[in-house]
């Protein structure tokens, strides 16, 4: 039994929304990062499902690239979070507010 494509999309959208929810509610920078990863992975689900659906590999290859990019992004992100902790003694993203308005 093949599962209809719409269920994959539904799943990925759910995942995307969970990630979004995490971004909007979590104040910890690491949780923020994880939430972003969830969103990216939601996209990956889509890509792979659609690659299967369309019968071409483009989506799968892109999914690999997206994973690599996400990893690189996390690497940079962790670096920034490290210096953030050193400067602000906290990884709460709402703490640094020296610049506003």
């Amino acid at each position: 039994m093949t599962v209809g494509i719409e269920y994959y999309v539904l799943l990925s959208m759910l995942l995307f929304c969970i990630g979004l929810f995490g971004i909007l509610t979590r104040r910890n920078a690491l949780m923020f990062l994880m939430s972003v990863e969830l969103m990216v992975n939601a996209a990956n689900i889509n890509l792979i499902a659609f690659a299967f659906y369309h019968g071409n590999l483009t989506g799968q290859v892109l999914a690999l690239f997206v994973m690599a990019l996400a990893a690189a992004e996390v690497a940079i992100g962790l670096g920034i979070i490290l210096v953030l902790y050193r400067n602000f003694r906290d990884v709460d993203v709402t703490v640094p507010t020296t610049m506003r308005w």
Binding site: A29, F32, A42, N46, N56
Partner: protein, 507 residues
């Protein structure tokens, strides 16, 4: 015709040169870690970007990628994943120019900084990403190039590791960037799902067939996907509502990096937006499928962006932050180029391209002036700039040129591009947008002239020591000022090139 028949991939030479420079800097740093030989490092970066610039200009003049009798036609590489045409070269020129200016200016600005080699190699990497964005012709390459431009930018903004402002800026830039790129990737996945292709021309073919057959079932997915793609571009170009990172990132980042991001990065964001929306989503077919004209989104974004940018800039106290908001406002102006595509005229998109080129000079110059002020250590607010004109007349005169050009005062370059945008908007029937352009320009004159007034007409707050004249910064500022002025006589060829490139995209 070229004497030597170059292989096709040589068309990517500007990008390859930038990448090579970045790698060379990494190799240099590997051999000689923590080197602080600023001359070699800044020199390598500057020469690399200048060579890339030279090659790009040469290609443009030689007609690489141009259609018609003289040209070679658009060169497609790797199955159309990358394409080198007039528009790609045009934006490579913008990126290379700004990179060169920033490299030269950083020589003085980054004096005494620990991570010299990393700084320049990151700049070059980001420039490589931006130049690749100019040539990217598939959602895959676009995504990779965009991330290649973004990731070093995050690091560059936060490179002043002991400066809380820089870190905060980097954090905010990164977080919003990560969110936006997640949205962008999701948009790509949806567009892929709706069409089954990632290569732009293939997407367009698919959409047109679908529109013709009437058997296209994924209009909703496509619409949401396109909207999410717009989100990605909006982030890169600092357009509302994805602009929130910009004021802080520009304010906190080292001033040359702010210049780099607000000029080159913005231009690169626009080039992919131009390319994606002209190539992949033909207006008629797409409107038929998703039921709404996507230019409507850009009309809204353009008006809101220029209004938010200019209004928020009006009452800023911090000069750099004012420039940051003005940069958002200018993104709104350039968005008219996409908003006006509905009329099928190349004028409005060509005008946006011209604006981005002129903006590359005047805005970079303005931020570099801020870099100079930070180098002097005079402070950051308008009051701190009071009376600088007496001490540094040359730089302050250049500042006047930048400010008036940004405001769009004739006969400076900024006036002409804005004028073309205005006529383009009128021609496209976007009277509301044209009116918003006028109102916002008028408002922008207020805060730009405020800076001019502070620099030239106000009395300095206290006796000031004589100010240094750092060679690199001065050279970059003066060059940018000269270009801002000279672009007017040279506007003929620029107009022609931009309109040709725009026409090639729309045709």
């Amino acid at each position: 015709m070229a004497v030597v028949e170059l292989p096709e991939w040589a068309a990517l030479a500007p990008v390859l040169i930038l990448a090579g420079t970045a790698l060379a800097l990494f190799v240099f740093d590997s051999i000689n870690p923590r080197s602080t030989n600023r001359t070699v490092l800044a020199g390598t970066a500057a020469i690399g970007s200048l060579v890339a610039l030279g090659v790009a200009v040469w290609f443009t003049v030689a007609g690489v990628g141009a259609s018609g009798l003289e040209g070679f036609g658009a060169i497609e590489l790797f199955d159309g994943q990358l394409v080198v045409d007039q528009m790609a070269l045009y934006f490579m020129i913008i990126v290379a120019v700004v990179t060169a200016l920033v490299s030269v200016a950083s020589y003085d600005y980054m004096e005494g900084h620990t991570y010299q080699a990393e700084y320049y190699s990151l700049v070059m990497l980001a420039a490589t990403g931006m130049a690749t964005m100019a040539a990217a012709n598939s959602l895959v390459t676009i995504l990779i190039a965009l991330e290649l431009a973004s990731l070093p930018s995050y690091a560059l903004v936060a490179i002043l590791k002991d400066n809380r402002g820089s870190i905060e800026a980097g954090l905010k830039y990164f977080l919003i960037g990560a969110l936006s790129s997640a949205i962008f990737v999701y948009g790509i996945s949806l567009v892929y799902g709706a069409t089954g292709y990632l290569q732009l021309d293939a997407i367009a073919t698919q959409l047109e067939t679908g529109a013709a057959d009437g058997e296209f079932a994924y209009g909703g997915l496509l619409g949401l996907g396109i909207l999410m793609l717009i989100g990605g571009f909006a982030f890169k170009t600092a357009s509302v509502p994805f602009h929130f990172w910009a004021p802080e990132a520009y304010e906190g980042a080292p001033a040359p990096i702010a210049a780099f991001l607000s000029s080159a990065s913005k231009a690169a964001g626009f080039v992919i937006a131009f390319r994606v929306f002209t190539t992949a989503f033909p207006l008629d077919a797409t409107s038929a499928l998703i039921g709404v004209d996507w230019t409507l989104a850009f009309v809204i974004l353009a008006i809101v962006t220029m209004t938010v940018g200019n209004f928020a800039a009006a009452t800023q106290q911090n000069v750099k932050r004012m420039l940051a908001y003005s940069s958002i406002g200018h993104a709104g102006y350039a968005l008219i180029g996409l908003a006006g595509l509905g009329a099928g005229s190349e004028l409005v998109m060509g005008a946006a391209m011209m604006h981005l080129l002129v903006y590359g000079f005047m805005n970079t110059g303005a931020f570099l002036f801020v870099a100079l002020a930070e180098h002097w250590g005079v402070g950051r607010t308008f009051e701190d700039y009071n009376g600088l004109g007496q001490r540094a007349p040359v730089a302050c005169f250049a500042l006047v040129i930048f400010m008036f050009s940004l405001a769009g005062i004739p006969p400076l370059g900024g006036f002409w591009s804005k004028y073309f945008l205005f006529t383009g908007a009128i021609e496209a029937g976007l009277l509301v947008v044209a009116a918003a352009l006028i109102v916002n320009s008028a408002l922008s004159l207020y805060y730009y002239s405020r800076l001019v007034k502070a620099v030239w007409f106000e009395e300095p707050p206290a006796a000031r020591d004589s100010l240094g004249q750092p060679t690199g910064l001065y050279a970059a500022i003066v060059f940018a000022a000269v270009m801002t002025v000279v672009l007017l006589p040279g506007f003929g060829p620029v107009v022609e090139t931009a309109l040709d490139a725009a026409a090639a995209m729309i045709a």
